[in-house]
């Protein structure tokens, strides 16, 4: 069975369909309704590098749907440290589980695992490559706020060079005709090959270093963390990071329905003063990881989600 390795594995129609499934699963994700659609199914969580939200939300998603989860555990104490190949690890887990969620430091690991496995693989991040389940929860959050994805104006800000989240999301947004504004310090600009690839797909892309000046007409401002270790000296870091720190006072001129998103964890790039504004969506976004992953687990396991969800409360 095919997994989800990159967003190219899904058509726009499938994306919208899965987001609709996720919407219907909201009461299940909140624990208001018990819907054991995945009872008897086992998810293998293979996180070869640290993850908090992705791993926990996969686990929550599976358990809310009545399924079970087995974890690889700490890589340092697993057979990986003894030199086991990814191929062998996958062969083993393939036999234990019905579906695998995986994060790996090497790019291409998810496709490699899919080629080795019988069960579907959900790519939870492969090096600087893809992170499609994050993209699905981001799209869900945007659709939830604006009612649609088409033609929105989206500012992506911060570290656009190394962030796989913004790479996957940019490609997906362009498929829905969104205008993209990339606001980042020169050192952390979106890679040129990605910008030209997006433009070759007809995207309207603007690049700027001025975050605050680019927010006026935005429907979404997607912040990312600027990491100190990317900079040669501390002064340069302080200067750059300071220009990409969002405070409630920066939001006075923005559109009423503009939303601020962040894949988390945040450090200094969103001041806590933003949390209480109508624009803050990052904690809902993190919660949406559960519904988006519930919908994807069902889809890849071939389990249909009822058109109308009713069930007994827990």
């Amino acid at each position: 069975m095919a997994g989800l390795i990159t967003m190219d594995d899904l058509t726009n129609e499938q994306i919208i369909d899965i987001l609709g499934d996720a919407e219907r699963l909201l009461p299940v994700a909140r624990g208001e309704i018990y819907l054991p659609l995945l009872q008897g199914r086992i998810l293998g969580n293979l996180f070869f590098e640290p993850s908090t939200r992705t791993r926990m939300s996969f686990e929550t998603a599976m358990k809310r749907l009545g399924g079970d989860v087995i974890n690889l555990g700490d890589v340092k104490t697993s057979s990986v440290v003894k030199g086991e190949t990814l191929y062998d690890t996958i062969q083993m887990v393939d036999g234990y589980t019905d579906i695998i969620a995986m994060r790996h430091p090497r790019q291409g690991a998810a496709q490699y695992a899919q080629d080795a496995a019988q069960v579907p693989i959900l790519n939870g991040g492969d090096g600087a490559g893809h992170h499609p389940t994050q993209t699905m929860l981001d799209l869900f959050t945007i659709k939830q706020a604006h009612g649609h994805l088409d033609g929105l104006r989206v500012v992506l800000a911060g570290d656009l060079r190394y962030g796989r989240t913004v790479h996957s999301l940019s490609h997906a947004l362009v498929r829905f005709g969104c205008d993209l504004i990339f606001a980042s310090p020169d050192l952390l600009k979106m890679p040129e090959e990605i910008v030209s690839d997006l433009r070759s797909h007809g995207a309207n892309v603007t690049e700027t270093e001025d975050l605050y000046g680019s927010m006026a007409e935005a429907d979404v401002v997607y912040m990312t963390r600027i990491q100190k270790e990317r900079f040669a000296d501390e002064d340069e870091y302080a200067r750059c990071a300071g220009a990409y720190k969002l405070h409630a006072r920066h939001l006075s001129e923005v559109k009423q329905d503009m939303i601020v998103m962040h894949p988390l964890p945040r450090v200094d790039e969103i001041d806590p003063s933003v949390d209480k504004t109508r624009h803050a969506r990052y904690f809902e976004q993190a919660f949406n990881g559960v519904v988006a992953r519930m919908a994807l687990l069902c889809r890849l396991l071939g389990v249909p989600i009822p058109a109308k969800i009713e069930g007994g409360a827990l």
Partner: protein, 158 residues
């Protein structure tokens, strides 16, 4: 200048391989890709930038006492997919070999991206590069999706 004249810039070989119609300036890369260099014991002749009716100009390589095998043809496909390869025996063309650059190059070279999963050579699945475009050649790794750095491919021959 005739094609025949171009071929005569170096003497005919008795036994071996002639690689003709190499894109002009690519002969050194062909040698690199085939692993033919200073340590090669057999005589190797090389002419570069000779006039060609078909190509404008071209390079030619003659390797004596060595017949290219399939794996070498597969490597050749990555630098000169339209080259002509003839096996020479007793001064005559005994065989014309076909270079076949298909949709995918399997187990010929490994991905040039340093953080690709396939850089762990103990991983047993095949090295797969997809041919995205033939002219000019563009390859992408099946696994990591990265465009390949063609100038590094010769270092990554399997």
């Amino acid at each position: 200048m005739s094609n025949e004249h171009s071929m005569r810039r170096v003497t005919a070989i008795r036994n071996g391989t002639v690689i003709d119609h190499i894109p002009s300036g690519q002969a050194m890369r062909v040698l690199e890709m085939l692993g033919i260099g200073a340590s090669t014991a057999v005589p190797v002749s090389l002419v570069m930038n000779v006039p060609s009716k078909k190509m404008g100009s071209k390079d030619i390589i003659k390797v004596e006492d060595r017949e290219l095998n399939q794996s070498e043809l597969d490597r050749l496909a990555l630098v000169a997919p339209d080259a002509h390869v003839a096996i020479i025996r007793a001064y005559s063309v005994a065989e014309k070999l076909t270079i076949n650059l298909g949709q995918e190059v399997v187990n010929v070279v490994r991905c040039t991206f340093s953080n690709c999963i396939t850089t762990n050579l103990r991983e047993p699945q095949p090295h797969r590069l997809k041919v995205v475009q033939r002219d000019p050649l563009q390859l992408r790794c099946h696994y990591c999706g990265r465009p390949q750095n063609l100038s590094e491919l010769a270092n990554n021959v399997l």
